[in-house]
């Protein structure tokens, strides 16, 4: 009887044949030299991959107008999908092709670091344009060269600036817990004490945070006179806006490049970007000959503001081509030896690799002045002197309406009393909880009635955010008013999804539903990626950053608005479910679908309405998030999917009042955890509470029924 599995195994193995052969698509090409380019064309880092791609394209046009060794350069792009293991895989693939002479890539530190190990093992010359983790050049690799400055250089330059120019004494470091973030933070934390700067505290947060106020409260309470942020764009924007909201006023805000030195930061953080100081690898106004003209030509060609990622990519290819030319050969070892002796004067400064393969590129420091990045350090490259100390938020002209007492007491108020800290923490937790509740309400209706584990919920929140963004940007409809458009729209989207995709799998095992909705989520996110690119779309409402100061506690007005609307929607949903006929049918169906059917309830209709309502609530959450979150990108909703499940389980499946309670409990727990335990562990606390409730009281905090 058991021939079947074996036969199928054999069939399976035979499937490998064509695929195995297909991967060797190399062919000798007599008239071109092929260079492998690894970058993030899709996934979370796609926007930086795009910046790099423009740089490569710009370089290739120049290079191919003359040719190299009588040949053209051909770029072979490999998408690492923003995943480290894929980056390594593409190195394996390219290293094995005899026609590829060298590699450039990848984008992020976490993708590049393991990829360099592979390239080095295969004796493949590889230039790293943008990965800054120091580890890359500490491994004794012979074949790896880094064009950009490493994290330790960020740390050294910043500490020097802080001691010599800013006169800082107490430094707080806030960094995303990634390869990049921890590399820069570690460099600063090591070097600051040696220069006589005390470490007031350091906070590592999970990238893609949704609310930093608890963490910033902790920073404020530590009383630093200098803050260092190491973050990507989405977080950079939110960190600055929320620093203003909770009135964090160090003498100087500094940052470790990345999010803080990209043109999009100026748009996203708007007025809160002003005066921030950041390390940067390059700016268009850099002192290097030709960089300004280069930037002009680049803008004209792509209609895109060049950032240092573009220059690094551009220069990496130029360095490689120079090496090939000098080597007079496309032999990998010859190219490597030629790279070692590179000597170029370029728009990225002098290029020269030291013994460990590091281009000794000095970094500069910029400050945002009048909405532009201006080089302020080192002094010989400075365009303008730095503005120090940073004016306190309340004295800045943009917020004059909020308070007349533009006093200088703000810097002095660095110390925060214990009770203020607690109140601030609780207020942040409560307001964040409101948003969690709203996202949870949508999910609890779907989960409670249809028992569908909807993994697309976060992606639907993202869809609501895009809808709100476009309504605001093109029709000037306020996000709070756009609820009237977004909710009906999302209701119909929900019905369509339910009728075409969910209905057929309702009888299937729940895992099929999870995977189906996960598939829907992937499709939604990647459709957004294709339609709107991975760039952040940012919007600034007139009340952005408006805060209420009650005692020592600062709360954001849009967050209060969102919280009140979340409570109102909960109340409406509750009344709808209890008082209306359709609501009763939905509740009946949630308790006993077959019984309800026997009573003549049209279950299919109830399910459509239910799913539509759940999706409408997700859309509403998206609308309310926009004034708080300021920006949307394809992955913006993703962190909320799991949080929504936690909320639903805490509150009890199908209970809208429970979702409100669950949202607030989760918001509070995270906030308290971030302030009194550690920012990095706040999500652990959320999940542990979730597991405890699941095992001890599976019907939820408010539930009565047995699961």
């Amino acid at each position: 009887m058991n021939s079947k599995p074996l036969l199928i195994l054999t069939l399976t193995a035979l499937c490998l044949l064509p695929a195995g052969c297909a991967v060797n698509d190399e062919g000798d090409s007599p008239d071109s030299i092929r260079v492998g380019i690894i970058s993030s064309l899709t996934g979370a880092e796609a926007r930086f991959g795009l910046a790099q791609k423009y740089g490569y394209e710009f370089a290739i046009d120049e290079i191919n107008s003359t040719g190299v060794l009588g040949k053209q350069i051909e770029l072979v792009y490999q998408d690492d999908t923003s995943k480290p293991e894929v980056a390594s895989l593409t190195v394996e693939k390219l290293a094995d092709r005899n026609d590829i002479v060298a590699l450039i890539g990848a984008y992020s530190s976490s993708a590049t670091f393991p990829a360099t190990a592979v390239a080095n093992r295969y004796k493949m010359p590889m230039l790293c344009p943008s990965a800054i983790t120091d580890e890359i050049t500490r491994q004794g690799y012979e074949w790896i060269f880094r064009v950009c400055a490493p994290a330790s250089e960020y740390g050294r330059t910043l500490v020097e600036f802080l001691t010599k120019v800013a006169g800082a004494r107490r430094l707080a470091v806030v960094y995303e817990n990634t390869q990049f973030g921890s590399s820069v933070a570690r460099a600063a934390l090591e070097q600051a004490p040696r220069a006589g700067i005390e470490i007031a505290g350091y906070e590592a947060y999970d990238q893609g945070g949704t609310d930093f106020t608890p963490m910033l409260t902790r920073v404020k309470a530590a009383g630093p006179d200098a803050v260092l942020f190491v973050s990507y764009l989405a977080d950079a924007t939110l960190l600055m806006r929320q620093s203003k909201e909770i009135d964090l006023n160090p003498k100087v805000f500094t940052a470790g490049g990345a999010g803080f030195s990209l043109p999009d930061f100026l748009k996203g953080a708007a007025d809160t970007a002003e005066y921030t100081i950041s390390v940067t690898q390059w700016t268009p106004d850099a002192k290097w000959t030709g960089s300004r003209e280069w930037a002009d030509r680049f803008r004209a060609r792509f209609n895109y503001e060049p950032n240092y990622h573009s220059v690094q990519a551009y220069m990496s290819l130029k360095i490689l081509v120079d090496a090939i030319e000098r080597a007079g050969s496309t032999d990998r070892a010859a190219i490597r030896d030629a790279i070692k002796t590179s000597k170029l004067d370029s728009i990225f400064g002098p290029i020269h690799f030291n013994a460990v393969g590091q281009n000794e590129h000095p970094v500069a420091i910029t400050q945002v002045l009048n909405g532009r990045f201006v080089t302020i350090w080192p002094s010989e490259a400075a365009i303008l002197p730095p503005v120090l100390p940073t004016p306190p938020w309340r004295t800045r002209s943009t917020v004059t309406e909020s308070s007349a007492d533009a006093g200088l007491e703000a810097h002095a108020a660095a110390t925060v009393s214990g009770s203020e800290k607690l109140l601030q923490t609780l207020a942040s937790g409560l307001l964040t909880g409101g948003i969690y509740a709203l996202i949870g309400i949508g999910l609890t209706i779907i989960f409670g009635v249809m028992r569908v584990v909807n993994f697309a919920h976060g992606a639907l929140v993202m869809a609501g955010m895009y809808a709100t963004y476009f309504l605001f940007t093109y029709s000037r409809i306020d996000p709070f008013l756009s609820l009237a458009v977004v909710m009906p729209l999302m209701f119909f989207v929900g019905i369509i999804i339910q009728k075409t995709l969910i209905a057929p799998v309702l009888g299937a095992p729940e895992l099929n539903q999870i995977l189906l909705t996960e598939g829907v989520s992937i499709v939604l996110i990647n459709t957004a990626l294709l339609l709107f690119t991975s760039n952040y779309l940012t919007m600034t409402t007139s009340y952005a950053g408006a805060t209420l100061h009650i005692g020592g506690v600062s709360v954001s007005k849009p967050q209060i608005g969102a919280f009140l609307i979340a409570v109102a929607i909960t109340a409406i949903a509750y009344l709808f479910l209890v008082k209306t006929g359709t609501g009763r049918q939905i509740r009946a169906a949630s308790q006993d679908a077959e019984g309800a059917r026997l009573l003549g309830i049209n279950i299919e209709r109830v399910q459509s309405v239910t799913f539509g309502l759940g999706v409408a609530a997700a859309g509403a959450a998206g609308s309310l998030l926009m004034p708080i979150y300021y920006r949307v990108e394809p992955y913006a909703g993703s962190p909320f999917t799991l949080k929504a499940f936690v909320v639903v389980v805490l509150g009890g499946m199908g209970s809208v009042t429970g979702a409100l309670l669950g949202g607030i409990v989760l918001g509070m727990a995270e906030s308290l955890g971030a302030v009194y335990v550690a920012t990095g562990y706040k999500d652990v606390i959320g999940f542990v509470i979730f597991l405890l409730v699941l095992t001890l009281k599976p019907s939820g905090l408010l539930g009565k029924s047995k699961v």
């Binding site: 058991n2 599995p5 193995a13 052969c21 394996e92 817990n177 095992p509 294709l530 652990v684």
Partner: protein
């Protein structure tokens, strides 16, 4: 009786000869990854497919195996290959604890709890940097083998995979397999006819988690780099489950088929469709679930009418 022996020998010969048929190292690398995922899908299947306990936290067990290797490499003078033995030893008590917590729950609650466990493990690995290297990760020096010659890695993973699939087959034929299927079909009834459901679920989890940890330990030795985004993401748990579902839940050959197709197709998509690759992947996922709810094995059974047995699948 002749046919199985014949096809088995063909298959075995093919698998042993593969690296000589596909000499490009990249092809060999893809073969190694495919076999690794066959192991992961099959290991998951013992718990998820046979016993119907749909875990979405298996990345945690994989991560424990990989981190065992990483910690051996960075904190001791031993070869990280010892993690192939030490990994399961570390994972077993953890699996029992996870089982103790999660097996009280049914259906989606069990699945959600396993997601939470997986995320907690990921966050701990990320934040406990003294032990794990945190976000920076751990670079492992090649041990025993050079890291560039794929052959030893291929045969090691082939042995692991063959042993895993064979174990699945044995489980499916033995008392344990029948008990697990009884639990999957109706836990109350299984309990009432005297099956100690908790005990057998724990046995299934232990086997599944140990095999997954072995795969993780192998991966660390092969990939030579470990960090939380690589060995502990929720996406890995989802991918493992996907292979079992697409292949066919609860069948021995299903995860094998699923892993081969999924791994190869994602490579092809990435190469052919550039920026749209994930979109196409997602759309195909939706289509497979909609039109082949019991996976390719179910499709095969219907298509070729193999045998008289009805397709095995979980009833809702």
């Amino acid at each position: 009786m002749k046919r199985p022996a014949f096809s088995f020998s063909i298959l075995a010969l093919f698998l042993i000869a593969s690296p000589f048929i596909f000499q490009a190292r990249y092809s060999q690398h893809v073969l190694i990854l495919v076999l690794l995922y066959v192991t992961l899908g099959s290991a998951w299947n013992i718990l998820g497919g046979f016993a119907g306990q749909l875990s979405l936290g298996h990345a945690a067990f994989f991560g424990f195996g990989a981190y065992t290797a990483a910690i051996i490499a960075s904190k001791t003078a031993l070869s990280p290959w010892f993690a192939i033995i030490a990994g399961p030893a570390v994972v077993l008590p953890i699996a029992l604890l996870v089982g103790w917590i999660c097996f009280r729950l049914r259906g989606p609650y069990f699945t959600l709890a396993t997601i939470a466990v997986g995320e907690v493990v990921r966050l701990l690995a990320l934040n406990w940097s003294q032990l794990t290297g945190g976000a920076v990760g751990v670079v492992i020096r090649p041990s025993v083998f050079s890291g560039t010659n794929k052959l030893p890695y291929y045969y090691i993973v082939l042995v692991i995979t063959a042993a895993t699939v064979a174990l699945c087959y044995v489980v499916s034929q033995r008392k344990l397999g029948y008990y697990l299927r009884a639990i999957r079909e109706d836990e109350e009834t299984a309990e009432s006819i005297g099956i100690d459901t908790t005990r057998y679920k724990l046995v299934a989890l232990s086997i599944s988690a140990s095999l997954t940890a072995i795969a993780g330990a192998f991966y660390a030795n092969y990939f030579l780099f470990v960090d939380p985004t690589i060995v502990l993401p929720l996406a890995l748990s989802v991918e493992i489950v996907l292979m079992a579902i697409i292949g066919g839940l609860g069948t021995v050959a299903g995860p094998v088929l699923g892993a081969v197709l999924l791994k190869l197709s994602s490579e092809v998509f990435r190469n052919e469709f550039a920026q749209a690759n994930l979109l196409i992947y997602g759309a195909l996922l939706v289509l497979v679930i909609l039109f082949m709810p019991d996976g390719l094995m179910g499709g095969f059974h219907r298509l070729f009418r193999f045998g008289a047995r009805k397709t095995q699948r979980v009833s809702a």
